[in-house]
Structure formats: C-alpha cells, structure tokens
C-alpha cells in the first residue's frame, strides 16, 4: 500500500508540474521587450493595451520597424507606411490629403501615430472603422487610394525577399509569412512610438516652468467659460490630450463626409470624427479630419468664431449662434502658446523611430 501511495504521489507531482507550454509542441518565444511606459503614464493612466497574442518582442519590433519604412508592401514598391506617416511630422505628413501610389488623393488627413497603446477604446482612423492597432495596419496595404496592393501579393514579395523570411522566423518562429504576422510586427513597432516628453510633460514632472503666456493658455484651455477644450482633449491628469471619442465640432452645416456615421449607419453619428490628440501639434499641420486648417490660429479661430450649426453638433460647442466662445486675441495667442507646449521634439528625433533600411 505504501508503494502504491508513493506512486500516486509522484504521479500527482508530475501532473502538477506540467505546464501549458508542453502542449504547444514547438512554441517559439522571441525576446520579450516590454513597453517602456513613461512614469507619467504609469502614475496617471491605465496600462497600455497589448493583445495577449502579440506581445512586444525585440525581434518583432525590429521587424515591424523595417516593414514600416519599406515600400515593399505597396503594389509598385514605391510607398511605405512612412510615406504618409513621417517621423519628423510625428508620423503624419504635411499634406492636406495624402497621395496614393498612382496619384490618387483621398478625402481625409493622415493621422499621426503615437501613444496608440493607450487608445483604450481601440477605435482607429478618424471614423473608428478599425479595431486595434493590428486592425488599423491591415487597411492601407490594400486601400485603392493608398498602397493599392493585395495581401497575397504583398506577402509574396516579402516571402521572396532574401531578408524577410529569416526576420519573421526570429520574430514569430516561422518563416512562412502571412498578413497577420505582418500587421502584428508593425503594431509592435507602433506601440513603441511613445510621446511623453513635451515641455508640458516636463512641467508636470516639476522640471521646467511655463511662461505666463503658456500658463494663461492652460487656463483658457481648462476654463469652461473660455476655451473649455478639456472636455474632449484631456487635462494634466489625463495626459493623452484626447478622448478618442467621436464628435461633431461644428465645421459644416451639411456633410460631404459622414465620418463615424458612414461606419455605423446611425444618422445620429453623421459628421462625427474622432478627437485627435493635441500632442505634437507643432509637427502635424494641417488640422482637422480633412486638413482644412493650415495653422493653429485657424483652428482656434474656428472654435472662437467659426462654429456652424448642424443637427449632430456636439452640445459642448458653445454659443453656436454667435460662432463660438469669442476668445480675446490675448487668450487666443496664449492658448496657442500652451498648445505648443504639448509638442515633444525628442519624439520626432528619437533614433529608435527612424528608418532602419
């Protein structure tokens, strides 16, 4: 009986020590590379959103970076992600509408890319049509006014290259490339694009002072009786400077672009677009979903005097019948000064974010 008990005990120990990894056979794990979350974000925000099936790895990030800057994904090999998402423009471009490989021009302004892991709603693009960073990365390759490729063709190009099969092997444990792995790698790289070192971040950390003009601009931004920008664009305790929610901000009386409503079909969402982050405005002109404003002055003037009524206009747009909140010229200038403190020069020059090819 003792022998039987001993056998049972040993068997139990063996079973207990079995791990899930054994079931996966040859599961490959690349070198983990957890996101370097800035202290400010650690202190103020929820953890970044990272899918369980796409952890950050050294090899995945490096592959994603190479893919991001490589025109191999486009139909004619002329355009990469970075063509419209340039580091020096905080990963947007300076055009009103980006131009596709065949000269096609869209109707939306290219969005900048940073702090995407903190988009807790996980809605991407101006109309939120893509879910998750990986979901976003699927779109441009086959978009007829962007890279105009097919995924089978893009994958075939990568598979035929002398470099990529080995890089996918190192990143994902397989040299058989597919679109899912491509967007996973790009998403890993994009999640590393963290911007948290603007002058205002430094002010929040107690490292620098703001000028009187910038401080007044901060107050204009937060004052419900003046700018009241914070209800959609965050505050020092919510340092993303975006709500990632959809609003009609009083641009048009009628809509040539239904925005969010185009995706949901809900008339209550016609003309709504996602609030972009106000970080890095110094590098992301022109502004609005259709890039209609070339300067920050034009943006501020819009909210001050340029609002127009439409049925879905957000209730937070004040004094619409008067065109807006009627800021003084001094408040406008100070608001602009404050907004520029949200720009992060170290982000656009970060060597880890530049073209490795």
């Amino acid at each position: 009986m003792r022998r039987l008990l001993l056998i049972a005990l040993v068997s139990l120990l063996i079973i207990s020590c079995n791990t899930g990894d054994d079931n996966g056979g040859d599961a490959y794990v690349a070198t983990p590379s957890p996101l370097a979350v800035p202290q400010l974000f650690q202190d103020k925000l929820l953890d970044p959103v990272i899918p369980a099936d796409n952890p950050q790895t050294v090899e995945g990030i490096a592959l994603g970076r190479k893919l991001f800057f490589d025109p191999i994904l486009s139909a004619d090999g002329t355009q990469s992600c970075s063509s419209c998402h340039d580091p020096k423009n905080a990963f947007t471009d300076s055009k009103q509408f980006s131009v596709g490989i065949d000269g096609s021009v869209g109707t939306r302004n290219s969005m900048p890319i940073f702090n995407v892991a903190w988009n807790f709603n996980e809605n991407f693009f101006w109309d939120g049509r893509a879910i998750g960073v990986e979901g976003q990365a699927f779109g441009p390759v086959t978009n007829p006014i962007e890279m105009k490729n097919t995924w089978p063709n893009a994958v075939a190009s990568l598979q035929a290259s002398s470099e990529y099969p080995d890089l996918f092997l190192k990143a994902f444990g397989t040299s058989t490339i597919d679109s899912t792995l491509v967007v996973k790698a790009i998403a890993q790289f994009e999640r590393t694009l963290i911007s948290a070192n603007s002058k205002f971040d430094q002010y929040s950390r107690g490292e620098v002072e703001l000028t009187p003009s910038e401080l007044n601009g901060l107050n204009v931004f937060m004052d419900e009786n003046r700018g009241d920008c914070f209800h959609c664009h965050g505050n020092p305790n919510s340092p993303l400077w975006a709500d990632n929610i959809f609003h009609n901000n009083g641009l048009d009386e009628t809509f040539t672009d239904r925005g969010r409503g185009l995706i949901t079909g809900d008339p209550r969402e016609f003309g709504l677009f996602k609030s972009p982050s106000l970080r890095n405005l110094a590098y992301t002109a022109p502004y609005m979903h259709d890039g209609r404003f070339a300067t920050l002055e034009e943006v501020i003037n819009h909210y001050s005097e340029g609002l127009v009524y439409s049925e879905t206009i957000d209730p937070l747009m004040k004094k619409v019948s008067e065109g807006g909140v009627q800021l003084s010229e001094e408040d406008k200038a100070d608001l602009k000064a404050f907004l520029l403190t949200l720009s992060d020069p170290s982000f656009i020059t970060n060597p880890d974010f530049q073209d490795p090819n």
Binding site: N225, D228, N235, N237, R268, P315, M317, K318, S321
Partner: protein, 257 residues
Amino acid sequence: MRKFALLALVALIALSCNNDDDNSTTPVNVDFLFTHNFDGSPIENSDFDQIQYTNENGEQLSLSKLVYLISDITFTNSSGDVFDAGDYNLINVREETNLTFTPNIQIPPGNYTVSFTFGFDDEDNIDGAYADLNSADGGWNVPAMLGGGYHYMRMEGKFIDNTSTETGYAYHTIRAADMSTTPVTNQDTSFVVTLGTVTVSNDTQVEVKMDVAEWYKNPNLWDLNVLHTVLMPNFNAQIMMFENGSSVFSLGAVTQN
C-alpha cells in the same frame, strides 16, 4: 493505512458535496442594476439625441450623454454593522457600460439598509488619484482651476430655448468651488442616497432607478435658458444641482434568483 485512506476519501466526498445553499450565513455578493427613466419613460440607447422630453419648466430637450459616478455602496444591518467595499462605478447610460455593478465585498445574508454616494465625497475626491477615471471619457477629471477632483455626472444634450433655437446644454455636477474667494470656497456636493431596506440572500440583485426629470424639478425649478452651460464654475448652480439630486434616485426591483 486502509482505514486512513477510507477516511480521507469520505472526507473528500463530504467536502465535494457541500452546497453553499446549505449555509445561510455564508457571505455573499450583491449585484446592482442601474436603470434610467425620464418621468417614468425608460431611457435606452435609441432614446439619445432625440428631442422628446419636457422638463418641469417646460423646455423640450434631448439627452446626448449621461455618464455618472457612484461610490461607497454601503450595507448597514439592524445591529448597526456597516459593510462597505469602498469602491466606485462609472456608469455610461448611452454606451450601456457598467449598468451592472457588484461591490467587491461579501456580506452575510440578512436585512440591510442600502445606501451609496452620488459622486465622490471629499475623502475620495482626490485629484488625479484614479488611473481608470483619468483614462475614461477623455479624463473624468475636473481641472485644478475648477477645483480639481472628478466629475460626478456629465449630462449633456440639446433643448429648445426661448428663441426656439436648438441649443446645447451641459449639466455637469462636481464639487462646488468658488474660485473667486481667497482661499477658494469648496463645498462637498456629493450626497448619500439611502435606498431603503433590502433583504440580501444568496443571489440578490438590487435595481437603482434614476429619474432624470428630477434633476430639473425640486426644490429648484430648473430653467435651462438661464442655466445650460458653464455650470462647473457656478457655485450656486452646483448647490442647486446637489439639492435637486436628493429625489433623483430610488430603489427599484429587488430580485432573489
């Protein structure tokens, strides 16, 4: 040894067969369901952005957003024992998120007076202290220049004003702060809602009803033409909202499943 093994087996079977139902004193969780109506008419997602309500003052209005914070759901038994998980719940009516909430505390079955705090009381209303609220809705915070802490409620929509113009309103409740005084005058305008006595058993759900119309009714008849925007820095408006809030919530159905 055989005897020992047999005893162990019997004990194991006995434990396996234990049923929670057999023990009426085993502590249990209590679920809450938050429902919303306008003078009794239920509010659902499809009701938003429709000018279909009329407040006590006669203004026709819509809701476009209704998000609010409750905290410190508290159970007090007849002996005066108090059970409070000290947690909170941010309810988004339009998006239908967090309409159900289970406080992170287990209490013995029995009869309890149930209450909660609308918003955060001053003890909890700590500027920037809650990462989930900082991350919600573009920041659920109140800027420092408006007194800091967190919103209690954001209720927004449109109404037909006295010039027949569709106008936005933003009925936002926060801790009242008069920033014009030195030092700043703060007044805690959160309030405790006492729902009444609830019998808690193994699987109890408590419905908490919000009647939105009550925000406009009493004791202060609310005129949106006068008070529709820039209410956060309006100390007196915050006091009026606080006063009107006392009749907004009530106990709905209590179900034992």
